[in-house]
């Protein structure tokens, strides 16, 4: 974000006054147009996913469920256990990096179209408009003293907001605890105290953030907004006012020729300010508060159309393009981000694809190195930890290899492990000392599911014995 020459240098006092001024409520005017349509589409799609997806079932269970009470995550056919922690971490890193890449390419498009704060504020604004009417009607209503009518309208709005928020809270909890059961508990008034708490907590957060805080969340709370400028460069897509074309701004008759009047294309109708959800004037240059939602583009294009001027006085562009240069999409930082992303994503896919939902740990008994049996065999004692990370109970068969005539002694021939549980199995291995090449030898334990063919794993352990006599 390099210097764009400001027409009126703002004195420090004004800046400070700006910093400290009491927040004034912003009444964004409703806007129609291509970007508004895209925004609405994104909103409907994202809200649809949020509210709808938890209800979708897959193979007998909730398709996507970060099942906290059961400590396992279902993502369609895949079930992750706490042991799979690394996948989730990887996924979060990929998500963060994608946002970086996206920001370098398209600026704050994320903010304007996909950020939950924007999406929920949009739906709350939509409710507000349905109940209170247009921008003018809302401003008029707020200026009126309290009356029965005003109270009724305000109460209606807040009631709808609250119900919607509670439903949001319910859905949110439904991502983390089976939603069908939750629904059943809700309608039978048997919701657990903790579930109730989190529904209310998240519901209250939604109501507060989308109903009251709104753009203040972006300004004071969003960490992304604060460092995104570091990811901007001259080739980043942003919403900008074409100063060269627009200035000097000023009102005029539709029939008048602006050139004759010495005016630019901006008719100073302030519509771009009225539609802005964060209440800024895009004509002042690129601003920290601009979330790139393009409401000002839509409305300005409409005005330009009416005036018979070409569209695009406010438009998506880049700093380079504004200067009349060519915009480079492929540039070093894009390549670096993409490469890292591609690598991480491949790693994730590979890891998930080759993941064996079975773990075998071999723990040697720490108290003795080895025993000698009455028959002169060398015995080692182990505890095996078998983790069954599949969705079904499994029966496993254990076998041994690596040393000749090794004898495996366990309580039972088969190891039964319930779904998602860790089973401890004490075992003994006995070997004739003649078959031990040295005092420390590798043995291999092989675990194979009898229930689910192909589910198997091999782990190497140490077998200790006396120094071989030469």
């Amino acid at each position: 974000m390099s210097a764009t020459a400001g027409k009126t240098p703002t004195p420090d006092q004004q800046v400070e006054a700006e910093l400290y001024k009491k927040r004034q409520k912003i009444y964004p005017r409703e806007v129609h147009g291509i970007f508004a349509k895209m925004r609405n589409l994104a909103m409907v799609a994202l809200l649809g996913i949020f509210y709808g997806l938890p209800w979708l079932n897959w193979d007998g269970h909730q398709a996507i469920l970060f099942d906290l009470p059961a400590r396992k995550f279902h993502i369609f056919g895949l079930t992750l256990w706490p042991q799979d922690f690394i996948y989730l971490s990887l996924l979060l890193i990929i998500a963060a990096l994608s946002l970086f890449l996206f920001t370098a390419l398209a600026g704050r498009l994320w903010c304007g179209y996909a950020c939950p704060q924007t999406v929920w504020t949009e739906i709350f604004l939509w409710i507000e408009r349905k109940v209170e009417g247009s921008r003018q009607q809302q401003m008029k209503l707020d200026k009126q003293p309290m009356s029965a009518r005003k109270f009724r309208i305000k109460a209606t709005k807040h009631l709808i907001w609250l119900l919607f928020s509670l439903w949001t809270g319910f859905t949110f909890v439904g991502w983390f605890t089976p939603i069908h059961e939750l629904w059943h508990e809700l309608i039978t008034f048997s919701l657990g105290p903790w579930e109730t708490f989190w529904i209310l907590f998240y519901g209250f957060a939604t109501y507060g953030n989308a109903g009251w805080m709104r753009e203040q969340v972006c300004i004071y709370m969003c960490p992304y907004a604060r460092f995104q400028s570091a990811m901007f460069d001259h080739d980043t897509l942003l919403v900008a006012y074409d100063e060269k074309r627009g200035e000097p701004r000023g009102p005029r008759k539709k029939s008048a020729d602006p050139r004759e009047l010495g005016l630019g294309d901006c008719i100073d109708c302030t519509m771009c300010v009225q539609v802005c959800p964060t209440g800024i004037d895009i004509r002042d240059g690129l601003q920290y508060q601009c979330i790139g939602c393009a409401a000002c583009i839509d409305i300005c294009d409409e005005v330009m159309d009416k005036m018979g001027y070409p569209k695009g006085l406010v438009r998506y562009t880049t700093e380079r393009a504004l200067k009349g240069e060519h915009t480079h999409v492929v540039r070093p930082r894009i390549i670096v981000y993409s490469a890292i992303l591609l690598f991480l994503f491949s790693a994730l896919v590979y890891a998930v694809a080759t993941r064996v939902p079975l773990e075998l740990d071999i723990l040697r008994d720490r108290n003795t190195l080895y025993n000698e049996t009455d028959e002169g065999l060398i015995e080692n004692v182990y505890t095996l930890k078998v983790v069954n990370m599949t969705d079904k109970p499994q029966t496993f068969k254990l076998s041994i290899s690596g040393l000749k005539d090794a004898e495996l002694i366990a309580q039972s021939d088969e190891i039964k492990a319930p779904s998602g549980e860790v089973v401890s199995v004490p075992i003994r291995i006995r070997i004739d000392p003649e078959n031990l090449p040295s005092s420390g030898n590798d043995i291999e334990l092989h675990l194979e599911s009898l229930t689910q063919p192909g589910l198997e794993t091999t782990e190497t352990g140490r077998f200790l014995g006396p120094m071989p006599e030469l």
């Binding site: 400290y20 906290l68 004071y220």
Partner: protein
Amino acid sequence: MQKNPTIYKDQQELPTIQRVISVLWPSFLVASISTFLFFAVFDPIDLGRLAGYPELTRIGGYTIGFFFFWVMTAFSCGLTCYFRKPVHPPTIK
């Protein structure tokens, strides 16, 4: 606004909303991360049993853990604001 604000005053004049957010919000984020990391290792059921509350549910354990972390981090964020106040001018008159 006062004309020749001392630094001490200036800090006080951050918008109230920002002062509240700067304590509660980072602590909320860090408490969430802590909860995620902590309970990836420990099962609240086990912890409940150790602490003498065998009937604690997992959701209950997560909630208690989260709020324990949040209270602690928010408290320490609050103290940071306290310790960032410029020390009184050398002479108290």
